[in-house]
């Protein structure tokens, strides 16, 4: 394993030091492991807190700032943070109007955030949780852990963040987040595995001519292993999985996110975006807004995820609202 790190144990601490040095607009508590905006939460504004394992950067720390998150809690690599972090974050950013936890649907994240929510309520902070579970590669059922949260997390954080900035109540901001999640579907394909600093070698071995289809963002194997194919066919299959799950009619509009998993060049992401645009054009679906880049990553994994969010006037307004974070910035 070759990585630009000092030691596997210090990865998160050292990265937090770098984030602190790079972004004067953020305030980084390296001991409590909480990243907040440098400015205090406006009294009466609902605060958004998210977090999860590290290794998905810029998610979540890169989305802290005006119009998006108030705080992020980075866990160890691919390990959800602990309740203490979320509680510290909630206390730091509560502006009296309550806190929304944006939680990707993984058992670890769910349980730790649930405990944190209990602790926060005990301290008099109102908490609502928005669960993100957009990954159609996972069969949903009440008997299982359900679907994973992946690319839609960015969309939820952006639009719920805008709703909070616009003065929405705790219930309204949470409802916005849930609505975005309900409107979003994702599917991911990996060309390589990824290597966590602690494990030191790839989570799985993938032959030179095979890809993992339906992967998550933690280096887990996907639903199936298939032969490598031209981008056009890979995208066609991913889009079929998404559109089977949530059909889109001609005339409908989407926000489309083509997201790199960390090791794939932007050049290839644009090729994928071109194919996504073709599929949608053939269906008469309009791409109202889009984003192409590395936003919700899986360390050094080569691969791509596609997220479509069915959009309407309200969501587009929230999407276009000003945002000023390290990784997403417009309208400011």
């Amino acid at each position: 394993m070759k990585k630009l790190i000092n030691s596997p144990d210090e990865v998160v601490t050292d990265a937090l030091a770098g984030i602190a040095a790079a972004h004067p607009g953020l305030s980084v508590d390296t001991k409590a492991r909480v990243i907040t905006r440098a400015a205090q939460t406006r009294i009466g504004k609902v605060a958004l807190v998210s977090g999860g394992g590290s290794g998905h950067e810029p998610l979540h720390g890169g989305f802290v700032g005006t119009g998006m998150l108030d705080a992020a809690c980075p866990g160890e690599v691919f390990t959800s943070p602990v309740p203490d972090q979320m509680l510290a974050a909630a206390k730091a950013v509560d502006g009296g109007a309550g806190v929304v936890f944006v939680v990707k649907n993984y058992t670890g994240d769910v349980l730790n955030f649930r405990m944190a929510a209990e602790f926060a309520e005990e301290e008099g902070i109102s908490v609502q949780t928005v669960l993100v579970d957009d990954d159609v590669a996972v069969q949903d059922s009440t008997w299982t852990a359900g679907r994973r949260g992946t690319g839609a997390t960015l969309l939820v954080e952006k639009m719920a963040g805008a709703a909070a900035e616009f003065g929405g109540s705790l219930a309204e901001v949470a409802a916005t987040g849930r609505r975005v999640n309900a409107a979003s579907r994702s599917f991911a394909v990996a060309l390589t595995s990824c290597t966590t600093p602690a494990a030191g070698r790839p989570g799985f071995d993938l032959p030179e001519d095979e890809i993992e289809v339906g992967v998550g963002i933690h280096g887990e194997p996907g639903r199936s292993r298939e032969k490598i194919r031209p981008a056009r066919q890979i995208v066609a299959d991913a889009m079929a999985a998404i559109l089977d799950d949530q059909p889109l009619d001609p005339g409908e509009e989407v926000i489309a996110l083509v997201n790199g998993l960390g090791g794939t060049p932007l050049l290839e992401l644009y090729i994928v975006f071109g194919e996504v645009a073709s599929v949608l054009a053939a269906r008469g679906v309009r791409i109202a807004r889009s984003l192409v880049g590395n936003y919700v990553t899986s360390l050094d994994m080569a691969g791509v995820s596609i997220t479509l969010c069915r959009a309407d006037e309200e969501l587009l307004t929230l999407w276009d609202a000003p945002v000023n974070t390290p990784a997403l910035r417009w309208g400011v």
Partner: protein
């Protein structure tokens, strides 16, 4: 060598210390099990957690009740591990500690009941059942084995030995299961054929208990 008759604070400390040593020894194996059907952090997480437990117990100094030892251990796991195993093991040990109450030394029956409370805490928090291919598949037979041995007149020592063996058997049985909870559930049928990492670490916990009271 004759085992302890009661689980006292020293034995509880010893249990935690032995668990810490065991997860350190087995770190890479736990990580590999987790890499196969999960995200490859279980070994590191358990080591981080039980290293923190050792430090917290050392910092706490004298603790006269085994329940207090386990409460602190559980709280420390919740605050230091993260992931699925942090809240689950943390809540389990907290429940064990709470169930031991203010007993200065707990006999087999008390320990059995406390372990049962630990198992129930895991089930309540995680919503899994036996057969879902989780740590519960080791906890359930381990507690059942413990209680069975005690009910049959077995010593604390013997019951703990029995529980450890049952945990091992239960862990083995996760191999052919298809996961329905936790990260491995995303793999669907591809999760079959692998030992659940949480079940594997549960074996270490019960083996450490047996060694601590043996």
């Amino acid at each position: 060598m004759v085992g302890l008759e009661l689980l006292d604070a020293d034995a509880a400390r010893d249990w935690m210390a032995r668990t810490a040593a065991a997860v350190l020894d087995e770190r890479d194996r736990l990580t590999e099990l987790d890499a196969a059907i999960g995200d490859g952090d279980h070994g590191v997480s358990m080591v981080r957690g039980f290293t923190a437990v050792s430090a917290a117990l050392a910092a706490a100094g004298e603790l006269s009740l085994p329940g207090a030892v386990l409460l602190l251990a559980g709280r420390t796991l919740v605050s230091s591990v993260g992931g699925a195993s942090g809240p689950l093991y943390g809540s389990a040990l907290r429940a064990v500690g709470k169930a031991l109450g203010d007993a200065g030394g707990a006999d087999g029956k008390q320990v059995g009941a406390a372990l049962g409370a630990g198992r129930d805490a895991i089930a309540a928090l995680g919503g899994a059942r036996g057969g879902d291919k989780t740590m519960l598949d080791a906890w359930i037979p381990a507690v059942a084995g413990f209680e069975f041995a005690v009910a049959g007149g077995g010593s604390l020592d013997a019951a703990a030995q029995f529980a450890a063996g049952a945990a091992e058997g239960g862990a083995e049985e996760t191999v052919p299961m298809e996961a329905r909870k936790g990260r491995a559930s995303y793999l669907g049928p591809r999760s079959v054929g692998h030992l659940d990492p949480g079940a594997a670490s549960t074996v270490l916990l019960f083996r450490a208990l047996a060694d601590a009271v043996g």
